[in-house]
């Protein structure tokens, strides 16, 4: 019981962090067809900006300012970089974002050094909120959940209820038609890219404080964000949400299970020594790799993702 409750809680929490990170990428990917390799780098920039700004203004102002600044950076990257590369095709775009990710990491190292920086949540949020079976649950984690859910709702309402949202939604599925109707599609693209980066930065402001803020943080989270986007499906915010939570839960529950392959095979009457390489591997051990397995399986058997509207 205890394990199930905590695993669910932890899984949802991790899933929500993934969602915050990947929701922006889903928008960008579905609209522009660009799998932005640098997305996690904007997440990192968010954390570092919040650390730098927070030193003078405090956490709350930084939480507001850092995403806006990163969104500005994102807009510049789109306007002066991505847009020019666009005519060379998707491969060039992918490579460009690959290079940008590389550059951002190096620049972060140049400015803030190669060691982690001491960036932590404000004291108010560091106290435990409640205690369950002896385990404290820190308020910062709950705060993170609230922010993620709020972000999801706001984004959802914006897309569904506002005029801008309507245009963006239309551009998600029929970019050319939207252009023909006289909307400034490049501007919409730039806006979406900027907002997407801003959302990644918000995730960074929170994720950096929750986890660790160092130059490797983008690299370690980057690939998993793709998994979420691809598994969730093109153009589907809901899909990204479901995929994030799913991946969070899968990973967390797998950690809690100690069964190994030899146990599993034993059920079918096949005996494998649990000292051998294959036999000794437990589900818990491979938990962090499961998302990649999911990615490959989804791409093979259901290429449009869980809730995707179309194939890419």
């Amino acid at each position: 019981m205890e394990t199930i409750v905590f695993s669910t809680l932890n899984g949802v929490l991790y899933g929500l962090l993934l969602f915050m990170l990947s929701s922006g990428l889903t928008l960008i990917f579905s609209m522009m067809g660009v799998l932005n390799f640098a997305h996690a780098s904007f997440y990192m920039l968010g954390a570092y900006f919040a650390y730098a700004i927070g030193a003078t203004t405090g956490f709350w102002a930084a939480m507001l300012l850092a995403p806006i600044l990163v969104a500005g950076v994102g807009a510049l990257v789109e306007r002066y970089g991505l847009r020019n590369v666009h005519r060379h095709g998707h491969v060039a775009e992918l490579l460009f974002t690959f290079g940008i990710a590389f550059l951002i990491e190096e620049i972060v190292k140049l400015i803030w050094g190669r060691n982690p920086v001491p960036y932590s949540p404000p004291a108010v949020l560091q106290q435990p909120l409640f205690t369950l079976w002896g385990t404290q649950y820190p308020s910062f984690r709950v705060f993170m959940m609230i922010v993620a859910v709020l972000m999801f709702i706001t984004l959802w309402l914006m897309l569904k209820k506002t005029r801008i949202g309507l245009i963006v939604q239309a551009a998600l599925t029929h970019p050319h038609m939207v252009g023909h109707l006289g909307h400034n599609v490049p501007l919409v693209f730039m806006g979406v890219f900027a907002v997407g980066c801003g959302m990644a930065a918000l995730a960074g402001v929170i994720g950096g404080a929750l986890l660790v803020t160092d130059p490797a943080m983008a690299l370690t989270l980057g690939p998993i964000v793709f998994v979420v986007v691809v598994v969730g499906g093109m153009g589907s915010l809901g899909g990204a949400f479901v995929a994030s939570i799913l991946i969070g839960l899968i990973q967390t529950f797998a950690v809690a299970v100690d069964a190994s392959l030899s146990d599993l095979l034993a059920r079918f009457g096949v005996m494998v020594s649990n000292r051998s390489d294959l036999g000794r591997i437990t589900l818990a051990q491979v938990a962090p790799m499961l998302p990649f397995l999911l990615l490959v399986l989804v791409l093979i058997f259901r290429p449009r993702g869980l809730m995707g509207a179309r194939e890419s």
């Binding site: 460009f96 550059l103 690939p223 793709f226 390489d277 490959v296 791409l299």
Partner: protein
């Protein structure tokens, strides 16, 4: 193919072989031999990679998997040669690497080649992550973090090469590099090679004329995996050690970088890219700690302004020579190069001075002058140099677009 062009092609290959033979006599030091050996390995790998990227339009983020598996097959064989006295020369080990890479390609390509474009890239990324992680878990096959090491000087000899000294390894790698380059070049001339280009450009039309694009992608993938495996085997012989890191994202990223910077559009592009990046990796770190930043900068600038790569530039120059337009185009190109170099120098100044703000150390020195990062004047100077460089490049580009230098110097284009 006409007789003269056949002759010319032949001459190019003979010259290539001659250069390979003579190179170690020109660059005799240990360091240069080591670096050239590594270059040779990467050249084969990058050429194999370009069969996918340049020739078939398949972007892979996990090609190091085949490189690494080929390397593992090779190192296991090398160990066996010594332990079991197999009587197989180490010289022939790359063939096993080729087969291992091909087998792995057959297994993974069987499902991943059903997709193209971004899904294919994503599958390759996922597979790459999975295989790399598995490499650390299965100690008996991959030797854990420390990998598996062997002794290349065991077993029978071929051409009198013991493979002990560096120079022997050089000729070993040079031989296999030459053979695989020739084979891969020949491949581009086969019907399958041509069809691969067609699949890249328009898969639907290929399907209409009765070929199955999936099947073509799969076949190319097989062969590319094979040559990647061969490169892995070369690496196993050269370093006499291979570890799971070889399978990981770093190698996959590096080969992509090399191929692209070298130029995916021309056959010899990856060769140039491999040479340049390997040199940067091994030697640049002696001069600056932030060499990776320069690499990133180079890459982004290339993607933005020269997506055809260095090989593409060479091809353009050669084309201009052929068409007799060199005299006309050269001044613009030279001006552009000048501007690029100026801007680059300014960027170097900014980066080196910025690095010293945090890390200290001796001031950045160039042209016999120290540029101290604490002086605002130097920062201003760096800014001016960058701006001037960009301005020169802009003029050079406009020169080409507008025809005359005078027109290029005007702010607005005057309608004729």
């Amino acid at each position: 193919m006409s007789r003269t062009s056949t002759l010319r092609t032949l001459a190019v290959w003979v010259a290539f072989a001659a250069v390979l033979l003579v190179l170690p006599m020109v660059f005799t030091s240990r360091t240069s031999l080591t670096v050239m050996n590594v270059m040779g390995i990467w050249m084969v790998f990058a050429l194999a990679y370009n069969m996918l990227l340049g020739q078939s339009g398949m972007l892979s983020f996990g090609h190091a998997v085949y490189f690494g598996l080929g390397g593992y097959a090779a190192i296991h064989l090398i160990v066996a040669i010594k332990a079991q006295r197999l009587g197989i020369p180490v010289f022939a080990v790359p063939l096993v690497g080729f087969m291992a890479g091909m087998a792995a390609g057959a297994l993974i390509g069987w499902f991943s080649c059903r997709r193209s474009g971004t899904p294919f890239a994503m599958i390759s990324l996922g597979i790459g992550e999975l295989v790399a992680a598995a490499g650390f878990m299965f100690v008996s096959v991959f030797g854990g973090e420390e990998g598996i090491s062997g002794d290349r000087s065991a077993g029978p000899r071929i051409f009198g090469l013991t493979l002990g000294p560096q120079i022997h390894v050089f000729y070993f790698i040079a031989f296999w590099m030459f053979v695989s380059t020739l084979a891969m070049w020949a491949f581009t001339k086969t019907p399958l090679g041509r069809l691969a280009n067609a699949v890249r450009d328009n898969p639907d039309r290929v399907a209409f004329i009765g070929y199955d694009p999936q099947r073509i992608r799969f076949l190319v993938f097989l062969i590319s995996g094979g040559f990647a495996g061969l490169a892995g085997a070369l690496s196993a012989v050269n370093f006499e050690i291979i570890n799971p890191e070889t399978l990981g994202a770093q190698g996959s990223g590096a080969v992509l970088l090399m191929t692209f910077i070298g130029g995916a559009g021309v056959f010899y592009g990856p060769i140039i890219g491999a040479a340049i990046i390997t040199f940067m990796q091994s030697m640049l770190s002696d001069f600056t700690k932030v060499w990776q930043l320069y690499l990133g900068l180079l890459f982004v600038v290339m993607v933005l302004f020269a997506p055809f790569g260095i090989g593409g530039m060479v091809a353009r120059i050669l084309g201009a020579v052929k068409r007799g337009e060199l005299a006309e185009k050269l001044p613009g190109w030279l001006l552009g190069t000048l501007g690029g170099l100026t801007a680059f120098f300014g960027a170097v100044m900014v980066i080196e001075m910025a690095y010293r703000i945090r890390e200290g150390g001796r001031p950045f020195r160039a042209f016999g002058r120290d540029f101290v990062h604490t002086s605002p004047l130097n920062w201003l100077l760096a800014g001016i140099i960058v701006a001037a460089g960009i301005a020169i490049v802009t003029i050079a580009v406009r020169w080409r677009q507008r025809g005359t230098l005078g027109a290029a110097l005007r702010f607005r284009e005057v309608a004729p």
